[in-house]
């Protein structure tokens, strides 16, 4: 997965979102050590201070834990990750519904389309 940034919002926020996504996808598994700030910054091609700020956000969200000796690890608390995943799923569905609503469909229509799409698979 590449790092991409949009123009309209601070980069650290976008970094925090993309890091969260990586954790939820299991790219950085629960309990594993995150790469050091400088390395992550170089990977994403961003300023280390910006990466630092994104990681601070992850810590605040409870997804990352700072250790005194070994840098940062992904939380071992499975509940935190599960909750974050649910939230992400909810907001994805909400986003989808919003688009359909803008197109003039009702929630019932949306359900029909989702079922139809699932039956194709």
């Amino acid at each position: 997965m590449d790092w991409t940034f949009t123009e309209d919002r601070p980069i650290w926020q976008q970094l925090a979102e993309q890091l969260t996504l990586r954790i939820l996808k299991g790219e950085y598994p629960s309990g594993s050590r995150l790469p050091p700030v400088r390395e992550l910054a170089a990977l994403a091609g961003v300023n280390p201070n910006t990466m630092q700020r994104a990681l601070a956000q992850l810590e605040q969200d409870g997804l990352a834990v700072a250790n005194r000796t070994s840098g940062r690890t992904v939380t071992e608390d499975g509940e935190v990750i599960r909750r974050a995943r649910r939230e992400r799923a909810k907001s994805a569905v909400a986003g989808c519904l919003r688009i359909l609503e803008e197109l003039g469909y009702t929630k019932a229509d949306a359900l029909v389309y989702v079922k139809e799409e699932l039956s194709h698979e």
Binding site: A44, G45, P48
Partner: protein, 241 residues
């Protein structure tokens, strides 16, 4: 150690009657990557040359780490000019020796390993190197120092986008985190993600100096977008671009 790394007070530079800088006030802290942004002819190079002691300001004062420009400030500044500066008969390793001789903070082992990762053979004569390779050598010389202040004048101008990422990556992975990096450029979209702060220079004056996050939050657009907006009028006039 002084808290502020760079302080410019009322810096004016005139070439003859032509003003290049008209009253620059600037304060830079430590541990930042700062973009000095402006179209060609806005005074970026002049300001950088004043900071590294290649030019004397007509008026005003410059302090670096609390000292006026001189041998001490030169010993803590690592400067990448917008041109080649070596004598042709030298090898890259000769230049490393020279830097190791004159700058206590030059790390020759790191220079060699940077050469390896950049694909430069340091035992080659500079005369035989391509322009791109020479530019890499110059970047190695500058980034292999553990300097307080890095002054990089248009480090990514005139190279293709792939090489730009490469150069920015080299800068990001090698700079001294306790020091500050000042990058002058007019290619803002390429450097925006690596910056903490942005300085807009227009007609020899600083019109904006803020953190990139603040600018994005306040304006709802990227620094590049804001820059284009501010300097657009100039574009249409067929000015400096």
């Amino acid at each position: 150690m002084n808290e502020l790394l760079v302080t410019c007070t009322g810096v004016v530079k005139r070439y003859g009657n032509k003003p290049a800088l008209s009253g620059v006030n600037l304060e830079l802290g430590r541990g930042r990557i700062v973009g000095l942004l402006g179209p060609n002819g806005s005074g970026k190079t002049t300001l950088i040359k004043i900071l590294c002691g290649l030019l004397q300001p007509t008026e005003g004062a410059v302090l670096i780490d609390g000292q006026t420009v001189g041998p001490y400030t030169k010993s803590v500044i690592s400067y990448l000019p917008d041109r080649m500066y070596f004598a042709d008969w030298m090898k890259a390793t000769d230049l490393f020796d020279l830097f190791a001789d004159f700058y206590k903070d030059f790390d020759k082992a790191r220079a060699m390993s940077m050469c390896a990762s950049l694909g430069v053979t340091p035992s080659d004569k500079l005369k035989t190197m391509s322009k791109g390779t020479k530019e890499k050598v110059q970047l190695v010389l500058v980034m292999a120092r553990k300097a307080q202040l890095y002054l990089l004048d248009e480090p990514i101008a005139g190279v293709d986008p792939a090489a730009r990422d490469f150069i920015l990556g080299t800068i990001l992975t090698n700079y001294n985190e306790a020091g500050t990096v000042l990058i002058s450029t007019h290619l803002i979209s390429d450097v925006e993600r690596v910056l903490d702060e942005a300085i807009f220079l227009k007609d020899g004056q600083i019109t904006l100096h803020d953190t990139v996050d603040n600018i994005r939050e306040r304006e709802g657009k990227s620094v590049d977008g804001l820059f284009r907006e501010i300097f657009r009028a100039r574009n249409y006039e067929g000015g400096a671009f």
